[in-house]
């Protein structure tokens, strides 16, 4: 399979770096209570939502940016960012009403919004800048009682569900970036799977930052009720710009009794150029709770983009016999920095978690795994297995592993394995001798190294992810 992919990939540059010339409704830069009110007003939000935003904003004013990560973060001026931008034509009722330029953008990204997505069995919610552009398949999903819509629509049409679950996993006081998101979040996706329903198709959201000097602050909330199942995918890209742009999202997942949620993401925000100019600052809070007994949440992430990534998709294992998985491939090249990993909090009895992290560093990049496995005193028979591998390409990059363990119950079994390796010249020469160029050889070796994680992705994403790994690392050896 990889051969075809390698053949297709001939250019090493960020191919999603175009901008769309589209009329944008953008508010002036800067952050204040007034701006928070303005965003809420633009979205016609109910009073409770505005109150939530203001509460978060006021709390945010008391917080400071965390500095514990193994990252060098330039000073971010929160007053020089625009906190809301939207394609001018708002809330299209049907595809015909969507700006053709916008549709072209999503076509270019390989995300046809037409109903022919049915063939690939994916329902898509596309979010450009701050607004959800179009959600496909809403009707056929709603026949099963499944709600898949933009967050704004959920606020309007399903306020009870939003109020019940929003911020129930990531409180508004959680951390600097999450709190900022709570104050200014723009849009995002909302998923609700009712009791006993197995969602028949992959649900997918595609995020795109287009406008200049804007931040993207989306939030996603996925609720899987008892005995339900859903697989959810998220993709993201941004134009190439010299300035840095801020992305601070929140994802919350709630899995009730016997429910299973699979969440996969391919993060491909613009990483900046080869000299480290530009790129997205990606500060994201993702957390799920296995609330009911026998529930299961799995996070799979392929991180190739962003100038700076700060992200720890985590699980709270509250229900008895619940389980959680975290599979991650994080690639950094040139001047990219990533500090990513997970937290597994074992609270219920007989809970288990599995962590598999594959870091790949090239160029002058820094790549860190940071993970916490915590077993509470009452969490009888907790099991965790963590494996953290690092692969280095070249000698100017760094790979770091920061595993933390807090085990407060004697019956727990917590295992951690870590390896660091380099792509060696013998492997590359061996491939060369079989007629495979160095660039392709690196692609093969890296994809082989990351295979265990890539195999966890849904098919369409696996192919995309393999291509991305190859592109991201082009020019990194030699």
């Amino acid at each position: 399979m990889s051969t075809d992919i390698l053949d297709q990939v001939t250019q090493g540059d960020y191919k999603y770096g175009f901008t769309t010339d589209i009329e944008t409704d953008i508010i002036p830069i800067g952050l204040s209570e007034e701006v928070v009110r303005l965003i809420s007003a633009k979205k016609n939000e109910p009073e409770w939502m505005l109150e939530f935003r203001l509460k978060a904003y006021r709390h945010w004013l008391t917080m400071e940016m965390p500095t514990w990560a193994h990252l060098t973060v330039p000073n971010i001026d929160y007053q020089s960012i625009a906190y809301y931008a939207a394609p001018r034509k708002n809330a299209p009722k049907s595809l015909d009403e969507v700006d053709p330029e916008l549709l072209k953008t999503f076509e270019k990204l390989g995300i046809p919004l037409q109903e022919r997505m049915a063939l690939s069995g994916i329902a898509v919610d596309a979010v450009m800048d701050s607004v959800s552009v179009k959600t496909t398949f809403k009707e056929s999903l709603s026949e099963l009682g499944i709600i898949f819509c933009s967050f704004s629509e959920a606020v309007e049409h399903h306020p009870d569900l939003v109020q019940k679950y929003m911020s129930s996993v990531v409180p508004y006081t959680d951390n600097f970036f999450a709190t900022l998101n709570c104050a200014v979040f723009s849009d995002g996706s909302f998923v609700y799977i009712p009791k006993g329903v197995r969602c028949p198709m992959e649900l997918s959201t595609y995020f795109r930052i287009n406008a200049m000097n804007t931040g993207q602050f989306e939030r996603t909330l996925i609720v899987a009720d008892e005995d339900s199942y859903v697989s959810y995918l998220e993709g993201c890209t941004a134009p190439m710009r010299d300035e840095n742009q801020l992305h601070a999202a929140i994802v919350e997942i709630v899995a009730m009794k016997n429910a299973e949620v699979k969440y996969s993401t391919v993060q491909n925000w613009y990483p900046g150029d080869k000299e480290g100019k530009g790129g997205i600052y990606n500060f994201v809070t993702k957390r799920g709770i296995c609330k009911g007994d026998n529930s299961k949440i799995s996070w799979t992430q392929v991180e190739t983009g962003s100038a700076i990534t700060w992200k720890y998709p985590s699980c709270i294992l509250l229900g008895d016999n619940s389980s959680a998985e975290f599979y991650s491939v994080a690639v950094t090249n040139h001047h990219q920095q990533a500090d990513t990993g997970t937290k597994m909090l074992h609270i219920g009895k007989n809970t288990s978690s599995h962590i598999l992290s594959k870091g790949i560093s090239a160029g002058k990049s820094q790549n860190s795994y940071r993970g916490l496995v915590k077993v509470n005193p009452a969490a009888e028979n907790a099991r965790n297995f963590s494996q953290c591998d690092s692969l280095l390409l070249g000698d100017k990059c760094g790979a770091h592993t920061f595993p933390y363990m807090e085990v407060n119950n004697d019956t727990a079994i917590v295992e951690h394995e870590a390896t660091t390796s380099k792509i060696n010249e013998d492997q590359i020469f061996y491939c060369n001798q079989r007629g495979i160029s160095t660039e392709d050889a690196v692609g093969l070796i890296v994809n082989g190294y990351a295979k265990e994680v890539l195999n966890k992705l849904p098919m369409e994403f696996a192919v995309e992810a393999q291509k991305l790994l190859q592109i991201t690392l082009e020019g990194s050896v030699g």
Binding site: T3, Q433, Y449
Partner: protein
């Protein structure tokens, strides 16, 4: 097919090949023998373009082309194959994926379309039998967890898949038991044709009982110091290399 003239090569500034000349024609099998450290494996590395080695002098032409100007991958695509003495493991990369990439790179070089999945699997099946590889081969990662014998058989399998003009077998017999040796040699013999040629590098005469060479060369101190027919191999087996060393030293005086 291959013409090496006055080749000099070094690694980290240490000269290993010191004026080596050799001509190989289509249809011929050449054995290169010699004591440890004579430069046998260096010769195979230099011919295939291993970047660890530097050529300082001499010419190598392969089918009329200046071989030394070609990248390692282009040398492969031109038809030079090396059966490695120590094949490396590539974890996570399946043999089927690896070979398909290699075969298609070779085809692309010849302006051919990529091979279809069916044709490829048929080819794999056919060539696998040649070296009696088991059926699980396709899904195993390249050389990962292979025994010594399996690794060598896998080299000959890849050789069969790529159908080279010139195969260089670098100590293919090392670490093989007698059964594996026979299987490997059988594979090599079946691939022999009037259009291709082989260079068999070996320390012992044993392999040459199975792969009958047309010429035997003795490599000593970076040069070919003696050439002959297959009987030379028996003589070396019997008398060792010391008498050659003595001859060379006497000639030097």
């Amino acid at each position: 097919m291959l013409e090496i003239k006055n080749l000099h090569a070094n690694i980290n500034g240490k000269e290993i090949i010191k004026g080596l000349s050799l001509t190989v024609n289509a249809g011929e099998i050449h054995a290169i023998m010699g004591p440890n450290g004579a430069g046998k494996s260096t010769l195979s590395s230099v011919l295939t373009g291993n970047p660890a080695f530097t050529v300082t002098e001499g010419q190598v032409t392969f089918n009329g082309k200046n071989l030394l100007e070609l990248t390692p991958e282009d040398r492969s695509r031109e038809g030079i194959f090396l059966s490695f003495q120590y094949p490396v493991e590539i974890p996570g990369v399946s043999m089927v994926n690896f070979m398909r990439t290699a075969v298609n790179e070779h085809r692309k070089y010849k302006n051919l379309d990529p091979i279809s999945a069916t044709d490829f699997l048929r080819l794999m099946r056919e060539k696998k039998e040649l070296v009696e590889m088991d059926n699980k081969l396709a899904n195993r990662s390249v050389n990962e967890g292979f025994s010594g014998g399996e690794k060598k058989r896998n080299e000959i399998f890849q050789m069969a898949m790529l159908n080279p003009l010139l195969s260089i077998l670098d100590e293919t017999d090392s670490g093989l038991d007698i059964d594996a040796l026979r299987i490997v040699a059988n594979g090599v013999n079946k691939l022999k044709s009037p259009d291709n040629a082989s260079i068999v590098i070996t320390h012992y005469q044993r392999l040459l009982d199975y792969i009958i060479p047309d010429f035997v060369h003795v490599l000593y101190d970076g040069r070919i110091v003696k050439s002959g027919g297959k009987e030379l191999a028996y003589e070396l087996e019997e008398r060792g290399y010391d008498w050659i060393k003595k001859e060379v030293e006497e000639a030097a005086i």
